[in-house]
């Protein structure tokens, strides 16, 4: 079992750095664990294909602006569901397409890709810091992913529906 925990975003761009900061925090707790790789990337779109190849499972962490929830809200989706999600981040634009490519070409690709995304307030100002609501969401996000990974490792499989379609797009209020 090889698990990729991939933080996406840009730490020069204020709230857009939340994915990278989450991975940095997780590295302190999970770094060195057998079978877990923690990666930060500012690449986007189709470059993700290269990053995802070779893993059994992947967790992506990113910033989004859906405008449908207050900043700091944590969203959880599965990759397959993204087509239906309004305004997903272009960091993984085409993720369902990537899955389809990987299947068509029989590439060694994660069977399950989960996305943890934080609703952000300002991801466009260079040199900006995290806004307060997003900063407050960070410990909760780290906790959720840590628990998720521990469960995965002990069960060695993601139990159906956890977090499955029943919880798709559900907002989890921060704190």
């Amino acid at each position: 079992m090889k698990i990729l925990i991939l933080g996406l975003g840009n730490d020069l761009l204020g709230d857009d750095g939340i994915g990278l900061l989450t991975v940095r925090a997780l590295r302190e707790e999970l770094g060195g664990s057998e079978g877990i790789e923690l990666v930060e990337s500012s690449l986007s779109g189709l470059a993700l294909l290269d990053l995802l190849i070779g893993y059994d499972r992947a967790i992506l962490i990113d910033a989004v602006q859906t405008g449908r929830a207050p900043p700091g809200t944590i969203w959880r989706w599965r990759a397959e569901e993204l087509g239906a999600v309004r305004a997903p981040s272009p960091h993984y634009a085409g993720l369902p397409e990537l899955l389809a490519i990987a299947r068509a070409l029989r590439l060694p690709f994660p069977e399950q890709i989960e996305i943890y995304a934080v609703e952000v307030a300002d991801p466009r100002t260079i040199g900006g810091a995290l806004t307060p609501a997003v900063r407050q969401a960070l410990p909760e996000l780290v906790r959720q992913i840590r628990e998720r990974v521990r469960k995965s490792l002990s069960a060695d499989a993601i139990p159906e529906g956890q977090p499955g379609k029943s919880q798709a797009g559900r907002t989890i209020e921060d704190g």
């Binding site: 020069l12 761009l13 990337s41 986007s44 910033a63 989004v64 272009p90 991801p123």
Partner: protein, 488 residues
């Protein structure tokens, strides 16, 4: 006046986010189509007060799509800032890495982003107009090769340059470390594979696109044609070069209009501001801003693959030169004004970049361990330029005597192209939308005009979408506000 608005959003497959607004009049015909993007804020403010030496790392992190281009433009601006000329091996290694990046990026665009329009067909159902549609027609083996060759080339860049987003490579006056014989072997192998890949891709384009009269008609149609100026970097013999050279501009008849070192860019390039867009529209100062119109009297110019081919007299490698000649013979001589010809031009450039990789990797001098000239001059101002995959990219820094930035300016590729892109979207919309009919295939024909430039807004803007607050105002010919659109 009543208008019906159609918003094409998001622009599928584009790395970044843009919006096209099309306004129809009472007859259901296009009144005007607007192309707009949000813009990244605060770069200048962020750069001021930082050491110029941080810029190659910082600017490469602005953009998740072409970090290597920003890294290289910034590194060259530092050469200029400290008035140092890197040793020959350093320049060759930089160009080798840069050409590797160009192959990888152009391959991505053709197969994943632009290719679906042609290989699958512009009026095919949306669900098929994607890389999977391309694979269905071209074969799964090609898909594995596209992914395989890109991975090999990306690994090469990482091998000598460090992580693409956090490069440990360019320094003022040279690069961080010399090339080892093992590195060189790896590049030679990658280059050979890249050349085969490029030749195969051109053959695919010929078989699927050029042998289909309908596609050729689309490429040549008036809807996708603008008679503008073109700009690109050329070497001492006026051949296309991605890494260095002169900025050359040809007029709409293909005659040389300007040829200047990037140091003089402010003498020739100016920026026009429109009320409906945050992006600044570049134009040629020597001609002047006449609006969103083409022709020799209008200062609109274009960059990116087609513009580079038009602005040069040829390609510096043999097979790319053959392809270049075939390109102009097929499309009716120089310059070619058809926007959709960008896709073909991109493949010719892919071949050039691959052949250039071979040449550089074979050059014995590339193993010379002298790869750095130490800067000694007092810094003041530095300007660097490269041809990014999407067109000319300029970095300009001013510093105090300690090298701390006091002013920074970037002109990114999409900004150079912004005017012509806006014109293309408008013109394509006019030609394909009649009587209010806007089927799925028709909308794609409008987007195709846009996609051909491979515009990337990850640096002109950031990639994250959502409803960026924006105000659109529309004026009548008398300057009166007739419509205001607010997006909060």
């Amino acid at each position: 006046m009543s208008r019906r608005e159609i918003v094409i959003d998001p622009i599928t497959r584009l790395e970044g986010h843009g919006k096209i607004h099309i306004f129809l009049n009472e007859k259901g015909e296009v009144d005007r189509a607007y192309f707009q993007v949000p813009e990244l804020r605060g770069f200048e403010k962020f750069a001021v007060g930082r050491p110029a030496e941080e810029m190659p790392q910082i600017t490469s992190r602005i953009c998740g799509v072409c970090p290597t281009a920003h890294h290289m433009a910034a590194t060259k601006a530092l050469d200029d800032l400290y008035q140092v000329d890197p040793p020959p091996a350093a320049k060759k290694i930089r160009e080798l890495v840069y050409c590797t990046f160009m192959v990888e990026d152009h391959a991505l665009h053709f197969y994943f982003l632009g290719g679906p329009d042609f290989v699958v067909g512009p009026t095919a159902p949306k669900a098929e107009r994607n890389i999977l549609g391309v694979l269905a027609r071209a074969g799964l083996e090609i898909g594995r090769e596209v992914i395989g060759v890109r991975k090999q080339l990306r690994d090469l860049i990482t091998r000598v340059g460090g992580k693409v987003i956090h490069p440990v490579f360019g320094l003022p006056g040279g690069i961080a470390k010399p090339l080892t014989p093992e590195d060189r072997e790896a590049f030679l192998a990658g280059a050979d594979r890249a050349v085969q890949f490029a030749l195969f891709s051109l053959k695919l384009f010929e078989d699927i696109v050029l042998k289909n009269p309908q596609y050729v008609e689309w490429i040549r149609s008036e809807a996708y044609t603008h008679r503008t100026y073109y700009m690109g970097l050329v070497d001492d013999r006026n051949r296309v070069n991605f890494y260095d050279g002169w900025l050359r501009v040809v007029d709409p008849n293909g005659r040389e209009f300007l040829k200047f070192p990037v140091r003089d860019y402010l003498k020739h390039i100016a920026e026009h501001v429109e009320p409906w867009s945050y992006i600044k529209f570049c134009y040629l100062k020597d001609v002047g801003w006449k609006g969103f119109v083409d022709g020799p009297e209008s200062g609109v110019y274009s960059v990116a693959p087609l513009a580079r081919l038009n602005a040069a007299d040829g390609m510096a490698t043999p097979r790319a030169q053959e392809a270049y000649e075939q390109f102009y013979a097929t499309l009716g001589g120089k310059p070619v004004h058809h926007t959709l010809a960008n896709h073909w031009a991109r493949l010719i450039e892919l071949l050039y970049a691959a052949e250039r990789m071979q040449e550089l990797a074979r050059d014995p001098e590339i193993l010379d361990p002298r790869v750095r000239t130490l800067p000694t001059a007092v810094p003041r101002e530095g300007i660097g330029v490269v041809e990014a995959p999407r067109g000319t990219l300029i970095h300009h820094y001013e510093t105090d005597e300690r090298g701390i930035i006091t002013r920074a300016n970037l002109i990114v590729a999409t900004q150079n192209n912004a005017t012509r892109i806006a014109m293309s979207v408008d013109k394509a919309a006019r030609s394909v939308i009649r009587n209010g009919e806007v089927g799925e295939g028709i909308l794609n024909l409008v987007e195709m005009a846009f996609r051909a430039y491979d515009p990337c807004h990850a640096c002109a803007t950031h990639a994250l979408p959502g409803q960026m607050p924006l105000l659109i105002r529309i004026y009548n010919p008398r300057g009166e506000l007739v419509r205001e659109i607010r997006r909060d």
